[in-house]
């Protein structure tokens, strides 16, 4: 007799079925798992049917050549290496809709056909979506030296309309009129920290010549002004830190040396003012609606006034997916006083106001 169950949370246990589990949420483009465990004495066949957004990536505990696609699109597994278990990894595709609930159907049937149960498991597939709501054609920026505060005639309005966190990096298309610089408030600390760290990393590389290459790569990444989400750099950062992690797994003494080099350089240069400033910068780096601005503490320095500001917004999510870079229309900026405005001051992450129009 066939039974049917729909479930979005938890693990199903039913008769000879000891557990049927599937994750209930996943960032689009990422993988998620499922498994079925049943009584070892029961001889079963398992069929799985996925929607277009989901496909089977890996299957555990089935014989070579298993996984026959049936007419209705289900994949059937009948021969298991060890009785009573099958494991799955599913792969999801990036979708137009930022949050969608999909269903995967698991049919479990006894080999003799006497017992059949159908279980539908649900999963939320989500991703962030950042859009430019409004970008002013002109911007007047005034720095009040006495108060140490910035006054801007307008802001660029950007928001995350999707689900999940967007990691955002602001970049310059052209450095003709503007250049990016370090945050003035933390510049002194950063310089002193990086000088000390450089010396310590050189010593570490000498003590561990086998890992000198990765130490040099890490030191270079810290020193250089780079766009973290630039396609080429992104790969380099990831591979360097993976290499560092692997070196640490293999040689605990080396990673202890590395971590203490970072910690000592940090503690040596930290002060009450750095603590307070870093907390302010931390707050500034978090946009509303699950947005983290990776280079919020950097500043945009104009080479002249008025100057044309041409920027891009690079994006990723917590599964490290690639998204198209957003290009902002050019903005004519006039400055009064100092020109190095912190990046977070240029943006407003609040929701859409009535009467504003969306671009891009």
């Amino acid at each position: 007799m066939a039974t049917s169950t729909v479930d979005q949370t938890g693990t199903v246990a039913y008769g000879w079925l000891k557990s049927l589990y599937m994750a209930n949420s996943c960032i689009q483009g990422d993988d998620f798992p499922a498994h079925i465990i049943w009584d070892k004495s029961a001889r079963l066949k398992v069929r799985v049917k996925c929607p277009a957004a989901i496909q089977v990536k890996e299957v555990y505990n089935v014989d070579q050549g298993e996984g026959h696609v049936l007419e209705n699109g289900s994949i059937e597994y009948t021969n298991f290496v060890v009785d009573g278990y099958i494991g799955f990894v599913f792969q999801t595709k990036p979708l137009q809709t930022t949050l969608v609930r999909e269903q995967v159907v698991f049919d479990v049937e006894s080999i003799d056909g006497h017992t059949r149960s159908s279980f539908t498991k649900e999963i939320d597939l989500f991703r962030p979506a950042v859009e430019i709501v409004r970008a002013p054609a002109e911007l007047r920026i005034k720095y009040d030296k006495d108060k140490g505060s910035w006054n801007l005639s307008d802001r660029i309005r950007i928001r995350n309309v999707g689900a999940g966190t967007a990691l955002v990096e602001i970049g310059l298309i052209s450095e003709e009129d503007f250049q990016m610089g370090a945050s003035s408030s933390l510049e002194e600390f950063q310089k002193a920290f990086l000088t000390d760290l450089g010396i310590k990393l050189d010593l570490l590389a000498k003590d561990h010549p086998r890992h000198a290459g990765v130490v040099q790569d890490v030191a270079l990444l810290f020193k250089q002004r780079i766009y973290l989400l630039d396609e080429k750099i992104k790969g380099k950062i990831k591979s360097t830190f993976e290499e560092l992690e692997a070196a640490g797994n293999e040689d605990p003494e080396f990673i202890e040396g590395f971590l203490s080099a970072v910690a000592i350089s940090y503690i040596k240069n930290i002060s009450v003012i750095t603590e307070l400033t870093s907390f302010l910068e931390y707050l500034n780096s978090i946009g509303e609606g699950r947005v983290i601005i990776l280079n919020s503490i950097d500043s945009m320095k104009a080479k002249k006034s008025p100057a044309k500001l041409r920027m891009v917004v690079r994006l990723t999510d917590l599964a490290d997916n690639n998204y198209p870079t957003l290009q902002l229309p050019p903005i004519t900026v006039t400055y009064e006083g100092e020109s190095g405005v912190p990046i977070h001051m240029l943006f407003d992450w609040k929701g859409l106001r009535a009467g504003t129009s969306k671009i891009g």
């Binding site: 498994h35 555990y60 070579q64 050549g65 278990y85 920290f193 931390y282 699950r290």
Partner: protein, 321 residues
């Protein structure tokens, strides 16, 4: 047709790693089996420590065993223990480490007594555990209001857990789940506190005595607006305490097949500074066990967001709904 993982690249590594473990276990068993009765044997992999642990229970045959030595020249172990089942006390003088392994000196052993020999060896290839276990967890949750992160561990090759040298178990399979907290902190910080913080920074930076006086008044005004006597540096110190394991563990609960182990500040390679003073996330480490009785495990890590926010509010002296 979908290719099963047994055709995948990790299969070779898992097979090789398991074979090496079983080979060593078999050799240890063979040595004892030649002289005594084996009662039980098993193999446990301690995942975080990357250790293979062999346990062999045997009954010594014959009368007094005298000054005989049982040699195990199969690589140097990190630890060996021999215990009679009767007393349970370790016979520390009975184990002697040699260049190529270890030996048991039978002096303290009596015939017809039962013993447990435990030996531990390092796992050389750090990729071995990953080749045997598929680990997945929620990288984040679709909505801000949700607080339950799923975790799942699955054995890729269950046949590897039933070996000729006994059952093979995996203990403490570890999971690191990132809990995003930055937005929670940001939204719970009132505007008045940011004004006060800004004033405090300016006051500390200022060198000119007159400006310092003016900023001092501004800072005092901002403090009064908040209505609390403590300064921002003290409050930030208390907030920092929340990001230590003892502080944050109160706001975490691990359920189902997993158990809580520890937590630490989240480090992301996208962070601008390599040693972040204020974490954007906390990493919660949970563990589970896998073996022939449990090929897959699922668990939930609950972030008690409301309690965390209440604590942040209490530190700052504000009410959070």
């Amino acid at each position: 047709m979908v290719d099963p993982i047994s055709a995948g690249a990790g299969a070779e590594l898992a097979k090789k790693g398991t074979e090496e473990i079983v080979k060593r276990a078999s050799k240890l068993i063979e040595v004892i089996k030649g002289k005594h009765n084996i009662l039980e044997q098993d193999i446990v992999i301690y995942c975080p420590e990357k250790i293979q642990h062999f346990s062999i229970a045997f009954e010594a045959t014959g009368g007094f065993l005298g000054r005989n030595k049982i040699k195990f020249p199969y690589g140097r172990p990190t630890r060996v223990k021999l215990r009679p089942l009767r007393s349970g006390n370790e016979l520390s003088d009975a184990v002697n480490y040699t260049d190529d392994g270890f030996e048991i000196i039978c002096d303290g052993m009596q015939g017809h007594d039962m013993f447990i020999l435990e030996a531990e060896y390092p796992i050389e290839d750090s990729r071995f555990i990953d080749s045997l276990v598929q680990r997945d967890h929620a990288k984040e949750l679709p909505k801000d209001s949700e607080t339950e992160y799923w975790m799942h561990a699955a054995i890729k090759f269950p046949q590897a857990l039933q070996t000729k040298a006994g059952r093979l178990d995996l203990r403490d399979v570890d999971f690191k789940v990132d809990v995003g907290i930055s937005e929670d902190i940001k939204t719970s910080i009132p505007g008045s506190f940011r004004v006060e913080l800004d004033a405090a920074v300016k006051l500390l930076k200022e060198r000119d005595p007159h400006q310092k006086y003016v900023l001092g008044i501004q800072h005092a005004k901002a403090m009064r607006a908040r209505g609390k006597g403590r300064n921002v540096a003290e409050l930030l110190g208390e907030l920092q305490d929340l990001f230590f394991p003892t502080g944050f563990s109160k706001y975490v609960e691990v359920k189902k097949d997993f158990r809580y182990s520890s937590c630490t500040r989240g480090v992301n390679y996208y962070d601008t500074l390599p040693f972040p003073t204020w974490p954007k996330s906390m990493i919660v480490i949970s563990r589970t066990d896998l073996g022939p009785d449990r090929y897959a495990a699922d668990g939930i890590m609950v972030y008690k967001k409301n309690d965390f926010l209440q604590r942040v509010g209490a530190i700052l002296g504000i009410q959070i709904d």
